[in-house]
């Protein structure tokens, strides 16, 4: 992926998170907890589980629609994610060839089923993480982490990183453009030039950190970064969490999907 698309993708995701919908208004803590519970539930399914995973697509679909997140953008983001899990999972069908099922007369090996399970878990976990950040502003997530007990120092790192991510990426982009302009078409991406660029970027970053430090001092900085509490857990947040737990628990511990299938079959 090119630098520009990468940059604009993050920017777009970031902008989505400042929308104002029901999902965006939920307390960040509630969303962080819900996401973690969701992820934990999804990966707690055994290796060969496929069918029981299907109801869990409801959560991302609800976030996507109620949170008014563009579907195509999200799907593209999921596809371009580092495919490590897929790359490792693809070995399952090759290595695990026991026949596990015959569907429409076609024999299906256990490896395919476990690979399908990995793919579904992949889609679910990735979309849950992306949707968390698309429906909660990053500072919101950070404040949630702080109030869930993460160290203040770590959280302020995260906030600074976020604040200067876009500033420095733009700076990197300018540096890269300058390189391209002066290399006259030959894509001058050798390691030597790149190292030099990174070095220049590093020096600028350190100088910038110094200027930021001055700006902080001039406004009375004494080692702590104070913030006002902004969010309060509301009834809707508790309700959201309760529904979430019920949903996860129900589909985790009871074979509801299969039951639905059985009822449907009996109706005919």
């Amino acid at each position: 992926m090119t630098f520009d698309t990468l940059y604009f993708d993050i920017g777009r995701l970031d902008r989505l998170s400042y929308r104002d919908t029901f999902v965006h208004r939920l307390d960040p803590r509630a969303k962080v907890i819900a996401t973690m519970l969701f992820l934990f539930t999804v990966i707690s399914f055994p290796k060969y589980e496929v069918i029981a995973l299907t109801p869990f697509f409801l959560y991302p679909v609800l976030l996507l629609t109620v949170g008014e997140i563009p579907v195509r953008f999200m799907i593209r983001k999921i596809i371009v994610v580092s495919p490590f899990a897929v790359f490792i999972g693809i070995f399952n069908p090759i290595l695990d060839t026991r026949t596990a099922a015959v569907i429409f007369g076609v024999a299906l090996s256990a490896g395919w089923i476990s690979f399908l399970s990995i793919l579904m878990k992949f889609a679910l976990t990735i979309s849950a993480a992306l949707l968390l950040i698309a429906t909660t502003s990053f500072p919101g997530v950070c404040h949630a982490l702080r109030r869930l007990g993460f160290p203040a120092l770590f959280v302020s790192q995260l906030l600074f990183l976020y604040r200067y991510l876009f500033v420095l990426m733009e700076e990197a982009m300018r540096v890269i453009r300058a390189r391209e302009m002066r290399s006259f078409g030959t894509r001058n991406t050798g390691i030597k030039v790149s190292v030099r660029l990174i070095g220049i970027l590093f020096l600028r970053t350190v100088d910038r950190a110094e200027r930021i430090y001055y700006a902080m001092l001039s406004r009375g900085f004494q080692g702590d970064i104070p913030t006002l509490k902004r969010s309060h857990i509301a009834l809707s947040d508790l309700l959201f969490l309760a529904v979430m737990i019920a949903y996860l628990g129900a589909f985790r511990f009871f074979p509801i999907t299969e039951e639905i299938g059985r009822v449907a079959l009996e109706l005919f």
């Binding site: 290796k47 996507l64 999972g89 099922a101 992949f122 420095l168 970027l201 639905i260 299938g261």
Partner: protein, 346 residues
């Protein structure tokens, strides 16, 4: 390489999260005791720098593929272990959120693999002893190379272990290691050269700079090896404990050899008179009665695996597939319904 949620089991994910939280807590506590105020913005902005630096791709000589900076080693050299660990943790957190690189449950693993090793093992045990206080550029190249390779090998090996212990992959240990380690040898060499290149560039362009930062962070050299080792041992014990618990509940996860096929497919008869189409499908469709795929003749395992997650029936049937199709159909309908409802609103 980022460990991924989809490959992870809850036990492994939780264990590594616990280890990462413990080290992170230790690092922030240590730092807080004697941090210079100057470090706070510096650390944060350097995190953003690692991101921006990763955007600068370069062609790897001889291969034509492109690589980028990982960052753990260069941060450790510049900021010292504690601060570097926290910065690396924030970089990986942002990657997990904005790029979904790895995911949030695997974040514990990733911080451990890419933060703990370079900062708390390789930096004090390899880089520091190799470099001492020399500013010789050749020495910096050698030390960075060795360190980056070591850090990436440790990280890659951890990914292998985490994946295998989680038990979702069929890859046997040997093949997996052969797959991962050489790739990361190459990545490590690149990382080492880039790290050394940047350090040397900074050293020549602004000789005073690194010294200033080291003076401010004041922890770089003063890190007590003993404490690091003790922390490490304690964590290893915690991990060992958790893993052995995990091993006893999920014996399959520890079985690295590929298991041979046991038992044969047993077609299930359609029981009641149902619609012809469905009957047709059902005649052609069946699952092994034991969908859990526990190898036969291993009753102990079977019993334990069954008890690990109560309420999940091992067996399934065509009703499962029908149910899945209905559920997915309903989800799509719900999604489209909300969407068109919203659309009319706007």
């Amino acid at each position: 390489m980022h460990m991924a949620d989809a490959l992870l089991s809850p036990a492994v994910g939780t264990t590594l999260w616990a280890g990462t939280v413990a080290v992170g807590g230790y690092a922030s506590k240590k730092l807080k005791e004697r941090i210079d105020d100057r470090m706070i913005p510096l650390m944060g902005v350097l995190g953003a720098f690692i991101f921006a630096a990763q955007m600068i791709n370069f062609t790897i000589p001889g291969t034509g593929s492109s690589g980028h900076l990982g960052g753990g080693m260069i941060l450790a050299i510049i900021l010292g272990p504690q601060a570097a660990f926290l910065v690396m943790a924030s970089v990986l957190t942002v990657q997990a959120l904005f790029f979904a690189d790895g995911g949030l449950l695997a974040l514990g693993c990733n911080i451990w693999n890419m933060g703990f090793y370079p900062c708390f093992l390789v930096y004090p045990l390899i880089y520091k002893p190799l470099i001492r206080d020399s500013q010789n550029s050749g020495r910096i190249v050698a030390a960075s190379l060795v360190s980056a390779i070591a850090a990436l090998q440790l990280g890659a090996f951890s990914v292998v272990m985490e994946t295998l212990l989680s038990g979702n992959s069929e890859l046997p240990f040997g093949a997996f290691v052969l797959l991962m380690q050489p790739i990361h040898l190459a990545i490590g060499v690149i990382e080492g050269f880039v790290t050394a290149g940047v350090i040397n560039y900074v050293q020549s362009a602004r000789p005073e700079l690194l010294g200033n930062i080291a003076a401010v962070s004041s922890l770089g050299a003063g890190i007590s090896l003993r404490k690091v080792m003790i922390t490490f041992v304690v964590l290893a014990v915690i991990m060992g404990g958790a893993l052995s618990w995990f091993a006893s509940t999920h014996p399959d996860g520890l079985e690295w050899s590929i298991e041979k096929v046991t038992g044969k497919g047993e077609l299930r008869e359609a029981e009641r008179g149902i619609a012809r189409v469905l009957k047709g499908i059902q005649e052609k469709t069946a699952f092994l009665p034991d969908y859990g795929f526990k190898p036969e003749g291993n009753d102990l395992k079977k019993a334990e695996a069954a008890s690990a997650w109560p309420g999940i029936k091992a067996g399934t049937s065509v009703s499962g597939i029908v149910g899945a199709v209905i559920v997915l159909g309903m989800i799509v309908l719900i999604g489209m319904g909300i969407r068109s409802f919203r659309g009319r609103d706007a």
